[in-house]
Symmetry: C2
Subunit: 386 residues, 2 copies
């Protein structure tokens, strides 16, 4: 059976990139690697919309998040964590692990943090050294207003640190225009690669804070990584074959163009929402991100059975909820190497399984609703008469 | 031109494993991944010669070394570092970064640390909480006597922590018999995989120390990783496609058999040494490891030219010296997916380049000397008469 991966990371990887991964291994202290790394960094800067250096780390996104905090925050330092779900909570958990003073600004699952909440927190805590936010809260499908946060943080001494792991390359994220100091991403989401790499952009403001901070770090030392990056090198053995393959995925991204990519994801998200609503499903996120669509599981239906049927009968691998949301939501990722026809496939499968499970569904309603969204992007071209 | 990789990491990867890397990406929170991880851990235990759990980490070997120390040593804790080269120095550098009290036991480059030196250090520092050693000092080609260290450390409260990154799978390393508490390895050496994964075995003694140590760790938290490993899971998104490919390389290792692999490497090392000596090269390591052979560059010859000629004219990629040894030595790795005929190729290329550079060489001397070593492993079989 043909398999389609709709989990919010890992996501499908283009065949051209998979073939790069199968190429023979090469030595990493070589002009060849320096050339590859410099191309990858330049293309990441393009995707990040930044002129700041973007450091590659061999680790998952969580390692990049840890590096961002431990390299910049002194012991006991105050960190405002904007929390709209499990991934926002990860910021708090990292703070706890390293003895930082975490000020939590929390909203219920499904909602986004309002810039006004951050403004209030900054007023109460002018000594905060960092503000941690989440571009796309993958646990709930919410997108947060990073531009709004950036305007508030820029005028303070604090750094704006953003987890853009599952948002970067799927939705608008203009690191320089939005004054993001440290932006963390991961290879396995909209950047169309397997997991194993994290990327961290570092602004001048952040670099100055790091230089003055006597951090207890080694493997995840961004200061050391920044210094090595100047020579297109890394402090430790990098996952060099992943970086070589990353170059391929970034070439594909760059050829499509970042704004076109954002528009494609926005359209897929709108279509997925329209399709889900046509199935009578209630959407979960009040300010939805572009990379995934999250819906409540209808009352009386077993989420686990629904997901298993999609996978076993139709090869459609969606994700369920995590932690307290387990069994309550389904998550359809459409980020990265995914197009409108993949979204139609997911909705069509969902229709069929809901029908089979006795949920009242008009066959074709979801795919038609989605298709109407996709049709809006088509400009009619007059056909020359014969 | 046909390329042959003889650098001491990354090393050549079998084609079957490369093809695994090109397979479509899959979801990591799945029964499929649990099955793969449990097979990988079982096969790693076989290679490690241990019944202890072996934790996979998405990072390079250095990340595994950091995890071993930060999870077990309290702030200010005393660590005896046995240093015979650059990689032993890495233990010291990690201690410095995290404020541990490093007691250095050093020998000149090219020599191994004697167990008697460790005995003396343990006598002087009975309060040491860890002893850090290096199985194969890749910077110099020296192999250290881990079995000898284990006998001394086992009767103390200290943990024996071994960097076996470039030794494991190339030379004898019996973690349980030798009483190694934490053994760190990396994917990209004798385990025949690209870089990106580290593996860390944890003894009961080490697990107890970790449980009592309030470590400031998060991404590299071995305690959390051990707990997750009980369910064949990981705390953070693992490099799951690397782990799937790792399974393939481990199957190949297991099919050959670990003792046969050690014998193969020992033979290749002996042949490489015989070949180098037949070329008039002076060997560098007094207690050579089985995974690589290191020789002085003859006086008057430029190391960089030598290495470039090998690479550009013959596709043979060897490594030079690092730091203070730059320009002084050449390093021929024969670990992992390398056989006797690859060693002959490397020696043959070395002969040709040395001849071309005017170094007095008898053509065929090196390959013949190596071949005589390989011939010793051939038991004559009587041929049935017609």
């Amino acid at each position: 059976m043909k398999q389609r991966l709709f989990t919010p990371g890992p996501t499908p990887v283009p065949e051209e990139t998979l073939l790069e991964l199968a190429k023979p291994v090469f030595y990493h202290r070589s002009p060849e690697f320096k050339q590859i790394l410099s191309e990858v960094v330049a293309d990441l800067q393009y995707v990040y919309c930044t002129r700041n250096p973007v450091v590659p780390l061999t680790c998952s996104g969580t390692g990049g998040m840890e590096a961002a905090l431990t390299c910049t925050v002194p012991t006991g330092g105050k960190v405002i964590c904007l929390i709209s779900g499990r991934w926002g909570e990860r910021w708090r958990n990292i703070c706890k692990a390293f003895g930082f003073n975490c000020i939590s600004v929390e909203v219920p699952y499904g909602q986004a943090v309002a810039p006004a909440q951050l403004a209030e927190a900054l007023k109460q805590h002018p000594d905060a050294v960092a503000v941690c936010a989440t571009l796309c809260e993958t646990a709930t499908g919410v997108g947060n207003d990073i531009a709004g946060f950036g305007k508030l943080v820029a005028s303070t001494p604090a750094l704006l640190i953003v987890d853009a792991i599952s948002g970067l390359g799927a939705m608008e994220c203009r690191c320089d225009d939005w004054q993001v100091d440290i932006c963390v991403s991961g290879s396995q989401k909209a950047l169309m690669m397997p997991p194993g790499l994290a990327f961290v952009s570092v602004s001048d403001k952040a670099a100055k804070v790091m230089a003055a901070n006597p951090a207890k770090v080694f493997y995840l030392d961004l200061k050391k990584a920044l210094a090595k990056l100047k020579e297109s090198d890394t402090p430790w053995t990098p996952a060099n074959t992943l970086i070589r393959a990353m170059r391929q995925s970034l070439k594909i991204l760059r050829a499509e163009g970042i704004e076109t990519i954002w528009a494609r994801h926005a359209r897929m998200a709108e279509a997925a929402r329209a399709g889900m609503q046509a199935l009578g499903l209630e959407l979960f996120a009040e300010r939805p991100a572009a990379g995934l669509t999250v819906a409540h599981v209808p009352a009386g239906l077993d989420a686990s059975t629904l997901l298993k049927k999609l996978e076993k009968q139709y090869g459609l691998k969606l994700a369920g909820g995590q932690d307290t949301l387990k069994g309550k939501i389904i998550r359809l990722s459409h980020m990265g190497h995914v197009d409108q026809f993949d979204v139609l496939a997911a909705l069509a499968g969902l229709e069929l399984v809901l029908l089979e499970m006795g949920h009242p569904v008009e066959p074709g309603a979801a795919v038609a609703a989605a298709q109407r969204v996709f049709a809006q992007a088509v400009a009619p071209v007059p056909v020359a008469s014969a």
